[in-house]
């Protein structure tokens, strides 16, 4: 079942008389029950897309539905179905976690006693009981994030939208959040999240779309996307003599599983099919020629390679 679907969703702004196309056309569908990642560098259109999906922004053109309900003609009904945690979180700093949660429950139409019960449940589930009655402005970054997530979950939404949930979090809180997102997902919540961290998308998301310059460049499971990248990379560190590079190149030239070979003063880099099988063969050949191998590194394709292939740029560079 599709829970979120967009067709050619686009948004342009007028900035000082100039038309800026922030999102040029996003078409995607998210299945109920999955963790869907929306990956891209800063400025690619992730946040603008998120703001349209959360009813905060009307699109310039295109359509979107959530649980079959049109986002822009029935915004109110959509708001009941979705939970949203923005980058800022949006908890009231002067109020305690408990007060924030009770009020949020009331916003979703819960009666006061029901909202009190629900706040208590969430405080326990997210391990906030100890600090529940302190003003949330006094919380650490990780505690604050837990409250933000609790606020998004008050009404047990079918679809939870997270905007850069781990940006600026310490590693421990980040690991905690990953676990929590997996737990919510296991309990039946569909999660749609934006991120510009490759490892996060890889570790957490069952499917993802890569957005660049306002358009989705590719969509699929992390593994399927990585499989589009031909071959694994083997890097050999050698005891170099002036002629070593050429010598090895001659040795390996005829092996059909090697796609490419390049070398410099320190290392030889090979792109090969099935790296794990190719590596022993290559080592044997080089050993027979009496060239000393000092280090060996085998790397599987990463999402960065996928991004590089699709856009011609590295995501790490774009993100900075």
């Amino acid at each position: 079942m599709i829970i979120l679907e967009t067709k050619e969703l686009a948004k342009s702004f007028r900035v000082r008389g100039r038309l800026v196309e922030a999102v040029k056309g996003v078409t995607m569908s998210v299945q109920a029950g999955e963790i869907f990642g929306f990956l891209g560098p800063n400025g690619a259109g992730k946040t603008t897309t998120m703001r349209m999906l959360t009813t905060l922004l009307k699109p310039s053109s295109g359509q979107a539905t959530i649980a079959g309900i049109d986002l822009f003609t029935n915004s109110r009904q959509v708001r009941e179905k979705i939970g949203y945690v923005s980058q800022d979180g949006g908890a009231e700093g002067a109020s305690t976690a408990r007060e924030n949660l009770i009020l949020q429950g009331r916003f979703y139409g819960l009666s006061l006693p029901d909202a009190v019960v629900r706040a208590k449940e969430l405080l326990a589930a997210l391990d906030l009981e100890q600090i529940a009655d302190r003003p949330s402005s006094s919380y650490s970054g990780g505690q604050r994030r837990r409250l933000d997530l609790a606020l998004g979950m008050v009404h047990k939404p079918k679809l939870l939208l997270l905007d850069e949930p781990t940006a600026a979090l310490d590693p421990q809180s980040r690991a905690w959040l990953w676990t929590e997102v997996r737990r919510l997902n296991a309990e039946g919540t569909t999660v749609f999240m934006t991120t510009h961290y490759l490892d996060e998308a890889d570790a957490l998301c069952q499917r993802l779309a890569i957005i660049d310059d306002g358009r989705i460049v590719v969509e699929g499971t992390p593994d399927a996307l990585k499989r589009q990248i031909v071959g694994d990379t083997i890097t050999l560190g050698l005891q170099f003599q002036p002629e070593t590079g050429q010598q090895v190149q001659a040795l390996l030239q005829e092996q059909s599983y090697i796609h490419s070979l390049e070398y410099d003063e320190q290392a030889i880099r090979l792109v090969v099919d099935r790296g794990a099988e190719a590596l022993p063969k290559i080592l044997r050949l080089i050993d027979d020629a009496n060239v000393q191998v000092q280090t060996v590194e085998l790397s599987r394709p990463s999402l960065d390679d996928v991004f590089l292939k699709q856009t011609g740029r590295s995501l790490r560079e774009s993100a900075n």
């Binding site: 922004l57 109110r76 979180g89 949006g90 009231e92 949020q104």
Partner: protein
């Protein structure tokens, strides 16, 4: 129905928050009370001059201070609001099914109630200093204060949503407030002013609020200034609220 429930919910929330930290409300009262204590006595000698309105120094000065309270209240409203925008609080609320109208009305109601509390304290202090105004007139002038509060608060929110920056908003307000206050005849009545100033003040809506309140304080209910004040403030308050509601609907960057 939902709008009413949500407005009440948000009003209670904002009211509790303000009462928990009422510094701004007290600071806002400080200036008019100082004016009352230190400036009103200076008016005594000229209260008998020709052209000074009826009602005596304090009877003329207090209604003006009520209007000043309403105008300067904008500053305090806006600073809290921008901090809230920054923290993403409003954005979080806008993703919930809360009535869009209530998002504005809940705040405005809090602002108006705070303003009325401040106004009551101000009139109380004036009474202790010898103000003897028509009680029904004072009550009616509180209605002028309500309209004034709606106008000033809603315009402040709309401007804050456009500028989204405390410093920019403070500059705009500083730029506007002094001429508005002077051209409302709050400190010295405009009846003492040369013609050209009186003409300029004729287009200042707040001058109408001051004139209407002054007439009400001395019980002149049939004075044309009274209905004029209500009409000018009523129409502008309505337009202001309309502008604020529209700005809230359109979005928060």
């Amino acid at each position: 129905m939902q709008s009413l429930r949500d407005t009440w919910l948000l009003f209670k929330h904002y009211f509790t928050m303000t009462m928990r930290n009422p510094v701004m409300v007290i600071v806002g009262l400080f200036q008019p009370i100082v004016q009352l204590l230190l400036f009103a006595p200076l008016l005594e000698p000229i209260a008998n001059t020709e052209g000074f309105p009826e009602g005596g120094a304090i009877g003329v000065f207090t209604p003006g201070l009520l209007v000043m309270l309403g105008i300067t209240g904008a500053l305090f409203v806006v600073f809290g609001f921008i901090a809230e925008l920054r923290a993403g609080v409003l954005e979080r609320m806008r993703v919930t099914p809360l009535s869009r109208l209530a998002l504005v009305l809940g705040r405005l109601l809090r602002d108006v109630v705070m303003l009325l509390l401040q106004a009551a304290v101000l009139v109380g202090v004036a009474w202790l200093m010898g103000l003897r105004a028509d009680p029904a007139g004072v009550a009616l002038s509180m209605l002028i204060v309500v309209l004034l509060g709606l106008l000033v608060s809603s315009c402040s929110y709309a401007v804050a949503l456009i500028l989204q920056d405390e410093n920019a908003v403070a500059s705009v307000l500083n730029f506007l407030i002094l001429p508005i206050l002077l051209l409302s005849g709050i400190t010295l009545p405009l009846t003492l002013a040369p013609n050209w100033i009186q003409n300029v003040a004729g287009v200042n809506p707040f001058a109408y609020a001051v004139d209407a309140s002054r007439a009400l304080f001395i019980g002149q209910f049939s004075n044309p200034a009274v209905w004029q004040g209500f009409v000018v403030m009523g129409v502008l308050a309505f337009l202001g609220v309309f502008w604020a509601v529209r700005s809230f609907r359109q979005g928060v960057a």
